[in-house]
Amino acid sequence: MGFLHHTFSEVYARRNNWLTEVDVRVKLLYIVLLLAINLLTKNIFIPLFFLSVSFSLLLTVKIPFTAILRSMLLPLSFAVFILLIRGLHEGEKVWLSLSIVGYKLVLKEEGLWNGLQTCSKVLGGISLVILLSFTTTISQLCAGLKWFRVPNTIIDLLALIYRYIFLFLDEVDTMWTAQRTRLGYTSWKKTIKSFGILGGMLVIRAFARAEQTYEAMHARGYEGGGILTATLPPWRKKEYVFVIGIVFVLSFLIYTRHVRVW
């Protein structure tokens, strides 16, 4: 579970660079609109353009290439899965027919082309999401969502859940190490039983922690309203320029029929 702790620790988002300094509202607006373009486009070059630009931007702020690649690996494997499913199922025209240990596989041209489009969309979309997550902290994100009128309950729970994930990851790690030193994972049967105890302890600790948290919140004046009080500053000229920029890009793409919204 070590890699999870590293992923959640916001090491890259907490750095000071020009991408982390961009207003979170602008980032959210850009990502949502670019994701919509990525989804609506029939052209494989636009998603691949998003991929290359996102990669380049992340590399300019010195995010390690391996960290980006590690985040992309799973979506990529899912994309290949879809490519093969569509290649096997869709269309008539045979592109490749091969036999693997007596099993015949027939890949069709139309299916593969559709699959390729999906693959490019997966890569483009994921790269945009990674761009947001590597440059935005959870507190910035919550403040941004609050500005966009997302219900307080969602934002409060998002902040609470995210905050306690760290704590429980640490606690689980300690308990897991203790169980391992007492040979709790030597056989598959013992492993499952140890996981049961670990999960049970997690529930008990979560319950105890909820009581403590509420007492602390109450002591600091919590009366049932929103728990986040941070507000964002008013928009500056820079933010307006960014927003006008994306509106122009979107209009251009719709006008040139690269993005079809109807």
Binding site: L39, L74, E90, V106, S133, R209, G224
Partner: protein, 256 residues
């Protein structure tokens, strides 16, 4: 085609082994769903999330500790869903991870569990690149709605049948996992409609691939782990289960 599916299952399996030694197959990744399905799944998911918010707000008014409780239990379920469970068929060469929705549905109720799942999926999409933002609606449908409601009803039916606490937890964990994969398979199967493919055939094949790889075993393993968790909590702190409404009286012994 069944032979092709077998070969395909092997390819799929190898692909996932290569990815971080972990299997995260229940999330539909960013960019997979076309716009009409993105809108449809968001439209399906949002009312459930809305009711979840309503439930939290209502209970928060009655019991102010409820909000931090949902937050900490949500985080606990999230961490539980990151447990690297070894795939027995491969002698531990690869690991998979549980869904956790069955457990959260049993502990928090189905609607609040949908809300918690939605937030967990948002965190996973943003910080782990598992799932996505445009596929959030679809993932909430499969993992949140189907997973939570199936797990909750399995638990309640098992309780009505007077099964022991372990078996109630086992059924909740297993059924919620199965329904989550079924939901994902349905969502992916729907993509072949109008493209020369059969929805039922594609859904059955995708579900078959999920079950043939590590996920079939995982459903059973998650069931056992959830069963053990409930029994452990009952033995150590029965008051928690009473507080959450899983048992009616902590002075009378419950069959475990």
């Amino acid at each position: 085609m069944s032979r092709a599916v077998t070969v395909f299952a092997i390819i799929f399996f190898l692909l996932f082994i290569s990815s971080e030694n972990a299997v995260y197959a229940m999330h539909i990744t960013e960019g997979i769903l076309p716009p009409k399905w993105v809108i449809t799944w968001f439209a399906v998911a949002m009312p459930f999330v809305g009711i979840g918010i309503y439930h939290v707000k209502r209970k928060k008014r009655q019991m102010p500790v409820y909000l931090p409780l949902v937050g900490t239990l949500g985080a606990a379920v999230f961490v539980f869903s990151c447990f690297p469970i070894p795939v027995i068929a491969l002698n531990g060469m690869a690991t998979s991870h549980p869904c956790g929705t069955g457990m959260s549905a049993v502990l928090l109720g189905p609607f609040v569990s949908v809300l918690v799942a939605a937030i967990a999926l948002l965190i996973q999409a943003l910080f782990l690149a598992h799932g996505g933002l445009t596929t959030l609606g679809g993932n909430i449908f499969s993992m949140g709605i189907l997973g939570s409601f199936s797990g909750y009803f399995a638990f309640k039916i098992a309780q009505r049948c007077r099964l022991s606490l372990f078996w109630c937890g086992f059924l909740a964990g297993m059924v919620s996992d199965l329904f989550t994969y079924l939901g994902t398979s349905i969502e992916l199967g729907l993509l072949v409609i109008g493209k020369g493919g059969s929805f039922i055939k594609a859904t059955a094949e995708i579900f078959g691939v999920f079950m043939m790889t590590s996920q079939g075993v995982l459903c059973i393993v998650e069931g056992i782990v959830v069963g053990f968790i409930l029994v452990f909590v009952y033995k150590r702190k029965p008051g928690i289960l009473l507080h959450l409404g899983l048992i009616k009286d902590d002075t009378k012994p419950v069959q475990i």
